[in-house]
């Protein structure tokens, strides 16, 4: 410790703390909005198992690998697993939720553009984890 003053360090720490408070507040606010599931969201049960995804729609139909949704509608995904941990991910819509056996995790999204998007598993789940992929198919609204 020389005889120098410490005020530059205090200002610096003040700036860092202010940035962290700002980041935290913004993140809190954004996450609060993101997690609010719309009332009219259609529920789809997403089941992960080594090494594919199964989708069960509200009308009881099931598809494997391909998830069919309509543009402009909100969907609530209930994510479950039959064997080990997986993580359901549609990167283009920032949909990410772990599939944990014994738990039901929910996440929602509303596709905004017609097209196809990649679905992948983002949690290590064994041998074919790298190819546990699927396709999100966003179609025109039927009505």
């Amino acid at each position: 410790m020389g005889g120098h003053s410490n005020w530059p360090e205090w200002i610096y720490i003040g700036v860092i703390v202010a940035i962290m408070v700002w980041v935290g507040a913004e993140a809190w606010d954004a996450e609060r909005l993101v997690e609010h599931v719309p009332e009219d969201a259609e529920t789809i049960i997403v089941t992960g198992q080594q090494w594919f995804w199964t989708f069960e729609y509200e009308d009881g139909t099931k598809t494997i690998g391909d998830l069919y949704v309509e543009v402009g509608k909100a969907y609530k995904l209930e994510i479950v697993s039959k064997d080990v941990n997986h993580s359901f991910n549609i990167h283009d819509y920032v949909v990410l939720m772990d599939a944990i056996p014994g738990r039901v995790n929910t996440v929602w999204f509303a596709p905004t553009e017609v097209g196809t998007y990649d679905i992948q598993c983002r949690e290590f789940c064994g041998l074919i984890h790298y190819n546990m992929r699927g396709t999100l198919i966003v179609e025109e609204a039927s009505t």
Binding site: P8, I13, D83, N85, S87, H91, L127, Y130
Partner: protein, 508 residues
């Protein structure tokens, strides 16, 4: 400091010695051996990912085994033993004691590392360094998985024993004339990291036992089929291993505190804020573990609490960065190899920390979690900060250990190539993560951005690989044939070295 190679001794004399510099030398050589072993696995991983499709590794199982052993090796068999090596050499001298407090315990702690390492390498488990249940319980092939569990158990006990030794040495064996507020920052870093080990490791030790009995089928702690919960393991694991991040990084920061004032030819800007930041980090390090688990279905409140806990660690880390820069400010800096590594390490520490803030912010984490962003992020810490600090310190202590100087030009070439390589690999991996590439994948679809980023990363890794070969050659050649060091002032930076370079060597 003892000049090891100037006075040749039979190898068994070093192996059965309990003197702190001998144990330090054993730690040093073991950790460097595992650095090269674990690093080679990284090069294999990068070569495989150069292009989509199987290149040089035939199957996904082998790939999974390779990245599991790569991570386990470099964390538990390189970083931790390397820090112990430095601690063994320096802590007793810094607190002015003749040896570690418990010399035999010290030797035992070291000798647990080779069997632990052997179990991990002979088993070659495939369930990632995180050993996620239920995969690790119901799917991971034994005996590899069981050997990994026992290996980690042994290494955990070793680090607890080492931590006890450092704490007692610093608190109880320091010279009576020396107050705790006069202990150098490098020794303070060992005190802080050892206290974290003591609090954190037992949790993982318990989790490992539960994992083992789950695998044996006699319990179902983490097995949903038997009423258990995999998330419980995640909490126990990260309660140990988030603070463990600070166990790894704090000694590296301590090493920079030794190098930077010396090569800046100025006293440290603020000794007290260094201590304060160490202590603060080791406390707030315990408030952030579940930020690894945002996507496991945690409630909004839980996530908020752990985000705040994570952001709280940032000011303490930032204080170190400030301290380093303020120390260098207006200093007559001599950019020799150890200084270059330290300054490079600070730059990458800052980058890694900035990326960490993005991870901690809840909505952003859902973009980056379990992608290559995370791989890039923590490698900037473990490689960019910890390995850089450690390698810089190795160059710094080289003349004390061997009595000879390393080749300065090759040392600088090593640094420049490693720095460029590290930036190429790990900054690129951040971007790759934003493009959505998951971690731990053996193969990937031919998406043009993914291919380009992977190729840049692979080229960077090869540059690091070549620089490490230069490093190895430099160390081996210079330790035998390098020019004799002036042990009073090997780096010509003048001033008084605080610590005698020849420790008294009482026989035990």
């Amino acid at each position: 400091m003892v000049l090891e190679l100037q006075k040749p001794r039979p190898i068994w004399q070093i192996m059965f010695s309990t003197h702190h510099t001998d144990v330090g030398l054993l730690y040093l050589i073991t950790s460097l051996a595992f650095l090269f072993l674990g690093g080679s696995l990284a090069l294999v991983i990068r070569a495989e990912l150069f292009l989509p499709g199987a290149q040089i590794i035939g199957d996904a199982m082998t790939f999974n085994r390779i990245f599991t052993v790569h991570g386990t090796t470099l964390i538990f068999l390189f970083i931790i033993p390397f820090a112990s090596a430095v601690g063994n050499y320096y802590v007793p001298i810094m607190v002015r004691y003749k040896d570690m407090a418990y010399p035999k315990l010290n030797a035992i702690a070291f000798w647990m590392i080779p069997p632990g390492g052997a179990l991990i390498w002979l088993g070659f488990a495939d369930f990632t360094w995180y050993a996620t249940p239920p995969y690790s319980i119901i799917s991971a092939p034994g005996p590899a998985a069981d050997m990994w569990i026992f290996g980690l158990k042994i290494l955990g006990i070793s680090s607890v024993l080492g931590a006890i030794n450092f704490i007692v040495t610093i608190l109880k064996c320091k010279h009576p004339d020396m107050s705790i507020g006069q202990v150098p920052l490098l020794a303070w870093s060992f005190l802080s990291s050892s206290l974290i080990i003591l609090v954190a490791i037992p949790t993982f030790a318990a989790a490992l036992l539960m994992l083992l009995t789950d695998r044996l089928g006699v319990s179902g702690f983490f097995n949903p089929a038997m009423g258990g919960d995999p998330i419980a393991y995640a909490h126990l694991f990260w309660f140990t291993f988030h603070p463990e991040v600070y166990v790894l990084v704090i000694p590296a920061i301590g090493m920079m505190y030794e190098i930077i004032p010396r090569f800046s030819r100025k006293p440290i800007y603020s000794y007290n804020s260094g201590i304060f930041a160490f202590v603060l980090l080791s406390i707030v390090g315990f408030s952030s573990w579940a930020h690894h688990m945002y996507a496991t279905g945690m409630s909004f409140t839980e996530k908020t609490v752990f985000m705040v806990g994570t952001l709280a660690a940032v000011p303490a880390s930032a204080m170190h960065v400030f301290n380093f820069i303020a120390t260098m400010w207006n200093g007559r800096i001599k950019f020799l190899t150890p200084m270059m590594w330290s300054v490079g390490g600070i730059a990458l520490f800052f980058s890694a920390g900035a990326g960490g803030v993005a991870n901690a912010a809840m909505p952003l984490d859902f973009t980056t979690h379990d992608t290559y962003w995370v791989v890039g992020h923590f490698h900037l810490f473990v490689m960019g900060t910890i390995a850089f600090g450690s390698i810089g310190f190795l160059y710094y202590m080289f003349p004390y250990v061997t009595g000879r100087m390393y080749n300065e030009t090759l040392g600088k070439v090593h640094f420049i190539m490693s720095f460029v390589g590290t930036v190429l690999v790990f900054f690129t991996q951040h971007v790759l993560g934003l493009y959505g590439m998951p971690r731990r994948i053996f193969d990937y679809p031919p998406i043009p951005e993914w291919i380009a980023m992977n190729q840049i990363a692979t080229v960077g890794a090869m540059i690091i690989g070549i620089s490490m070969a230069i490093f190895l050659a430099n160390m081996i050649y210079s330790s035998g044939k390098g020019k004799l060091a002036n042990t009073e002032d090997p780096f010509g930076v003048g001033g008084k070295y605080y610590y005698p370079f020849e420790a008294k060597n009482p026989s035990h």
